[in-house]
Amino acid sequence: MISLSNVSVVLGRKSIIKDANFNAQAGELTVIVGPNGSGKTTLMRALSGDLPFTGRITINGHSLGHLKPWQMAAMRAILPQSTLLSFPFTVREIVRLGLTSGRSGATHDVAENLPDEALALVDLAGFGGRFYQELSGGEQQRVQLARVLCQVWQPVLDGQPRFLFLDEPVSSLDIKHQLIIMQIARAFATRGGGVIAILHDLNLTSMYADRVVVMHEGSIDSVGTPAEVLTDDRILRVYECALKVGALPATHVPFVLPQSAVMSVRP
């Protein structure tokens, strides 16, 4: 479990996160939503150990401040929003960097093939020999996800759950790959790991989240299931936008919801 109590972040003189409290359970997909500038990414960076904060963050009971980088690397992997490279690495070489900490959880034999397995999982089978810099933004994002998956390949290691932090994992993806990526996150949670993802798409959130954390102006507005949290008045208050939950458009307007995907499996 990841637990935040009274977490605040101050950058310069500006208070970005004010007194955040919530728990993210193993086996669940926790989605952080909120308008631009509400502090989602800052909160994620504090969770990742990149920013100084006050209060207490624990991973499986260990306080973040007491963990060494390699100890944290064995407990959680983090997908950044985007990654620029200045050297001509191949896709496979990038994915292989996920094995840096050496705690993928796979046996030695399997670890050799892990980059290829991970690439297949994110629908990039056969891309191993391409140069990372030549790929589109969405493909690069999926390569990074494959790298991150290699780092915590087994969602549970030594009886302890591990975590994926995903900062807008589907922001530059087409609808098919949005579903694939969310399905991978879902499967990771089902197999006993924990996932914390920042999403902008409320429909995907409603479809996949076990628990939603709504952020508003640096504070946690509410935490709950999608049905509890996604209400008309909360969306109006937080997003300053009058939207009706569950309202259909006029009959002649086509609309496509991710929920309508024909899912042959729901792991």
Binding site: W70, F87, R92, E117, L121
Partner: protein, 371 residues
């Protein structure tokens, strides 16, 4: 969306055929390292035999095998002195300097995540020169206690300190929140280089005739005057840097993703950067201390290798050491023979080849990244 895409099972493919997966260049890289190792050996033998005096390869090899004892009539005393006291120290020192220049370049490029970073270009060598020139000119007066403390190591220690201080300043100026600006780095390098040159100019003005000769050799860069004593002084710094560098490979690879991601992968980034900076300063400082400013080896060698084996630093660093050593020995052979019986400072040779190459890298990158 098909089931096969989403739920592809974790196949246990190991054991079924050992074909290399696409995009895995490690096998190629290991092969290239072996080839470069043999190439270096061959270059060293060739250099041992080549020169103003005409000791043949065969006699040289047998001299090495049998030793230069007087009982063998294979080598004359004159040849034996040429081989043992002039060429061999020069070749070993040349190989060590070539290796350390190339490795310091490769480490610096990984650290700054920038293929144009090179101790010679961004002013680190100028900082080392500043330290070394201070010792040459002020050694008898102001810096006498420093010389007394470090004896034969005074020159390399001073160069190391100069290189370290300049690297730290450069890093402080060019890097903000883990991102290095290419333009800021190059401009800061120009400013640091100009600063060092102004100070070196002042010291040149103060220098006496004997010191002036030392300084001229310095600014041009040369392996002439290599001897066992110089090697004893600079060797420990170079060997230490070369021995530590293979352990930087994993961290430099992770750093290519950015400092935050490297830390997420388990690299203790701050500590790692400190070690890397010390390696760069030791390698660049010691080589500048013995040979002066030999430019462009650090930028050309890693770049060539990245084209062939890719940027994986676990292989790039040892390969750079080997290729740097070979190329510097070849450049030295050229500098010794092209105007024989006199010789050209090697810095002129490396700059003549390296500077156009640097421009070519700039041209290639112009389309890809915004400088």
């Amino acid at each position: 969306m098909s089931e096969s895409v989403l739920m592809r099972p974790v196949a246990l493919r190991s054991g079924q055929g050992k074909t290399r997966p696409e995009g895995d260049r490690s096998f190629l890289a290991k092969g290239i390292i072996v080839v470069l190792g043999f190439a270096l050996l061959a270059t060293m033998l060739f250099s041992l035999a080549a020169g103003a005096s005409d000791a043949s390869v065969i006699s040289v090899v047998s001299a090495l095998v049998r030793g230069a004892s007087s009982d063998g009539n294979v080598l004359s005393l004159r040849d034996s002195i040429i081989i043992w006291d002039i060429r061999l120290p020069r070749i070993i020192l040349g190989a060590m300097i070539g290796a350390s220049l190339a490795v310091s370049g490769a480490v610096m490029q990984g650290l700054f995540r920038n293929p144009l970073a090179d101790p010679g270009i961004v002013g680190v060598s100028a900082g080392a020169g500043l330290g070394a020139v201070s010792v040459i000119v002020l050694g008898a007066t102001v810096l006498a206690p420093f010389i007394a403390t470090f004896s034969i190591f005074a020159l390399p220690v001073a160069a190391f300190i100069g290189a370290l201080v300049f690297t730290l300043i450069l890093y402080g100026v060019a890097t903000r929140r883990g991102q290095t600006s290419i333009a800021t780095m190059l401009l800061a390098g120009i400013a640091l280089g100009a600063m060092a040159m102004a100070y070196i100019g002042l010291l040149t003005f103060l220098a006496d005739d004997r010191q002036l000769r030392d300084l001229t050799f310095w600014t041009l860069g040369s392996l002439a005057g290599s001897n066992w004593a110089k090697m004893a002084a600079a060797g420990p710094f170079i060997v230490l840097a070369l021995l530590v560098s293979p352990f930087l490979g994993r961290g430099l690879n992770a750093l290519a993703l950015g400092e935050a991601s490297a830390s997420h992968l388990g690299i203790p980034v701050q500590r790692f950067k400190r070690v890397a900076i010390i390696v760069v300063a030791a390698a660049a400082g010691a080589s500048v201390a013995v040979s002066g400013g030999i430019g462009f080896v650090g930028v050309v060698v890693p770049h060539l290798l990245r084209l062939v084996i890719g940027p994986d630093h676990r292989y790039l660093l040892p390969a750079s050491a080997l290729l740097g050593a070979s190329l510097l020995l070849l450049a030295d052979a050229v500098s010794r023979t092209i105007v024989a019986p006199s010789e050209l400072p090697i810095g002129i040779v490396t700059a003549a080849v390296g500077a156009p190459f640097f421009l070519w890298i700039l041209l290639r990158r112009r389309g890809i990244v915004d400088l």
